[in-house]
Point group: C2
Chain length 234, copies 2
DNA sequence: CGCACAGTTGACGCACATCAACCTGGGTGG
DNA sequence: CCACCCAGGTTGATGTGCGTCAACTGTGCG
């Protein structure tokens, strides 16, 4: 067991304090290049990953070749708890950027969660929040236009990144291609490009060099029907 | 404390054995008429509900008046764990039919889950499965046509109801209006009606008198890309 | 220089939305 | 017991958001 002491904490000093519980279960830190699978759909994983720096996403591949991105993960997030706990993965996880990940063996998290009530409570809370975010994406895909959906995503990411100290007052890093953004929004890359043009034209955002700037957050939140309460952890 | 002994078990004898843990925390059984809210969006709930018989659904109301149904719940399911644990509800839960519900005070489930590791593990597992279902709906809304989506829902409901002994070899009760089905599928009721006609015409299903019959399950699963593995609890 | 990848634009088509009329069966009250 | 009502469902006509296909541009890199 290595545990928290061996892990370089500089990149994520502002992660929530409770995250320490997870770090204690970790055995090592791993660096992964961008656009690498850290979990392949269909695999039986041996370790689960806590994201320390960089961004990843969950996705699901369909038989017809289409792909739906189901979550974007930021530092502090558990990438693949379900796969670890249930021993099967019907989704994959891939890095968007160069990432640092804490590896926690599935065995250990399962064994430890038999006795460690604090860990169990933490996992349950994380999982409740994770589903709240998934549900919000579902609502967007079902009822919001693509402009609203994209605006909503930008607002959500800003709040989540800001909570871990990775956003400025009006911007954050977002190294994602339009193809991937489109796969998250359930639209084509061609249409996404037009949606972005519209939002730029309306003076709502600027997106260049991997940085998204929200020029008018109040207006963007209003337009996309964003309410941050589902993101609160407590 | 009443607990499991006072609750009538006839209607749900085939619920998973572990559900007993939840029943022990319940204080009373409540009967609710159809189309009643058991949790209103925005409320701060005092109790959480375990569904014993009947069907309910979760929904989210948007500012523009639209509604997205985010889950359909069947006997054995926890209707509103997130609202209970986090103390706020940004979704509502409504009955589809006459329902019997076990009420568990939020206080008790929170207090009990501080010490009861078995309960915590159960809640975590339920929550993992709940998100797996939500994620599958999300994938459908993002990447599947409305025919595939509806077929997928029918396959899912059959598996879930069959698991608790509430389906025959090829049918189950489904007392839901087309407006509600449409709100779950993210389409209009008009279009849903046409989708149903198409599926009936293709000899895939029959829907009458609140009973859905799947005439060709193999074909329906193939057509909608259904794979049941995400529904397994273990 | 030339290739590969990401993004943009235009033309056209389709899945689904919208609006409106109409049908149907079960429940209610006179 | 019939007249009426009304929620739920069906159908047709027309509109639109987004998909598809294809060509083109910009940019970084070997």
């Amino acid at each position: 067991m290595l545990g928290i002491d061996q892990i370089e904490l500089d990149n994520f000093q502002r992660l929530l304090p409770e995250t320490e519980l997870l770090l204690r279960a970790a055995v090592r830190e791993k660096a992964v290049d961008r656009r690498q699978d850290i979990l392949c759909q269909g695999d039986t994983p041996q370790v689960t990953h806590l994201l320390l720096s960089g961004h990843t996403f969950r996705y699901r591949l369909l038989a017809n070749g289409r792909r739906q991105i189901t979550a974007i993960l930021v530092p502090g997030d558990l990438c693949d708890l379900e796969a670890a706990m249930l021993g099967r993965a019907n989704y994959g996880v891939m890095t968007l950027t160069y990432c640092s990940l804490a590896e926690i063996p599935c065995k250990r998290i399962i064994e430890q969660s038999i006795n460690d009530r604090a860990l169990l409570r933490l996992l349950l809370r994380r999982q409740l929040r994770d589903e709240a975010i998934t549900r919000e994406w579902l609502v967007g895909l079902g009822q919001r236009t693509s402009v609203e959906r994209l605006g909503h995503l930008f607002c959500e990411l800003w709040v989540r990144l800001n909570a871990v100290g990775l956003a400025t007052a009006d911007s954050f890093e977002m190294r994602i291609t339009q193809v991937e953004l489109a796969e998250a929004m359930g639209i084509t890359a061609v249409h996404l490009s037009r949606v972005l043009r519209e939002m730029r034209g309306a003076g709502l955002i600027r997106l260049s060099g991997g940085t998204l700037t929200i020029l008018n957050r109040t207006e963007l939140e209003r337009l996309s029907g964003f309410e941050a309460n589902y993101l609160q952890v407590s």
